[in-house]
Symmetry: C2
Subunit: 249 residues, 2 copies
């Protein structure tokens, strides 16, 4: 399936950086990325790798120095122009055993670029490690050839979700109590709109929460079918259906 | 999202059994299931749980005895009639770190009931733990409310896949080198047909393998888009698209 992944991870390493990318610039890689390049990928002087910063496209670079603290790269030339992706925002509930990181990884592969954890009544996870989740998304973006890394926002409480402005966008609410309808047909009718979607916690939403969501403006309530899907499965299924229906493939 | 999962796993335990299910029968649960009921679910005498055997529907039963080796259940009454699901067969390549078990778990939730691992040239996993994979599917079927557990077949070599009879069914081949087409539209046109689908290994198919697949009869070649998906993501996305397009939700 993913021959390309293989090529990318073993032959062409890709790295997200906050640096400006410009021909002949020299940049230093330290911290986690230094460890990854040196100890995991066993990079050597002269090796080439790709860099992207979410703004200026993808650039080829060459290792010019490896010290005990950093790796120095020289930027050679631009390899791909920047792509600006459709921003589909995902609201989700944190899951047991950090399984929400799995959601971030898989949904990044599927092109979702904004994640906001929402604390609901039946959610038994109260802490969310934002930087760990960001790293999971960054790594997925690097591996799957994206030219942007996803935003992982701070956790918000359910009431703050209700205060969100859905005036200019649609919130797709995948609700297990929604009557069965063909989701593909309905999502098809939303083409051209700004889309966000909401995935509930393991324990589901409370009746009060469900009612509050349905009272919001611009909410589309959809069913994921008669099957009982775990929250992480539901997230991947939702993102697949939205992306494939929108034809953003 | 999965309020129902919660109910099922904490309030209504479901268990697959090979026993005949009939009113007033007494049956013994031992082995792994005994351990699960006693030590994980901490079941007590008088507790009720659901049983299904893939043939005779779902039955309510009551714990009548708990010994140090087994739990005895009395079958009370039928709760749901047997459902016979559409059999969509998944061929996949074994993945590193047993990540194929994740494919089996998620695809079971999505209603796929037959799994056959295929050994290909670029696949670096040569052993496949069939019973572990079966247990993963059984557990998913128990948790997601299915009335059947999936078959997990023995691993076959790529050449045996080619000998498979696709005369009476379609093989959907998700091929990263396929030109971009709208997969939903094409799958839609296959309604009413018997479907199987093939997910490649991490390293992709070799050129010879790809050519041999495309030479088979009744193969539909589809793209999962321009994104680079890992093999496990590709599997879930494929199953979602097939199930939702077929409307078997």
């Amino acid at each position: 399936m993913d021959n390309k992944t293989n090529n990318l991870s073993h032959k062409s390493i890709r790295l997200f950086t906050n640096n400006t990318l410009e021909r002949h610039l020299l940049i230093k890689i330290d911290g986690e990325d230094y460890h990854y390049l040196k100890n995991v990928m066993r990079i050597s002087s002269g090796d080439e790798l790709f860099l992207f910063n979410g703004i200026e496209g993808e650039w080829k670079s060459k290792v010019v120095q490896i010290t005990r603290k950093y790796i120095k790269l020289e930027i050679l030339h631009k390899n791909r122009e920047q792509i600006n992706y459709t921003n589909i925002e995902c609201f989700f509930s944190p899951l047991n055993n950090n399984r929400h990181n799995y959601i971030i990884e898989k949904l990044t592969e599927l092109g979702i670029l904004s994640f906001t954890p929402v604390l609901t009544s039946y959610c038994n996870i109260r802490k969310f490690n934002q930087s760990k989740a960001f790293l999971r998304g960054k790594e997925a973006a690097e591996q799957c050839g994206l030219l942007q890394v996803p935003n992982v926002n701070e956790m918000i409480k359910f009431n703050e979700l209700l205060k969100q402005e859905f005036k200019n966008k649609i919130l797709i609410f995948f609700d297990e109590e929604s009557p069965l309808k063909n989701p593909i047909e309905i999502i098809n009718s939303l083409k051209g709109k700004k889309i966000s979607f909401l995935i509930g916690p393991e324990g589901g939403f409370s009746d009060i929460e469900r009612a509050s969501i349905l009272e919001l403006n611009n909410v589309v309530r959809l069913s994921l079918g008669s099957r009982i899907l775990r929250a992480d499965t539901a997230a991947i299924v939702s993102a697949s259906i939205i992306q494939f229906t929108f034809g953003d493939i």
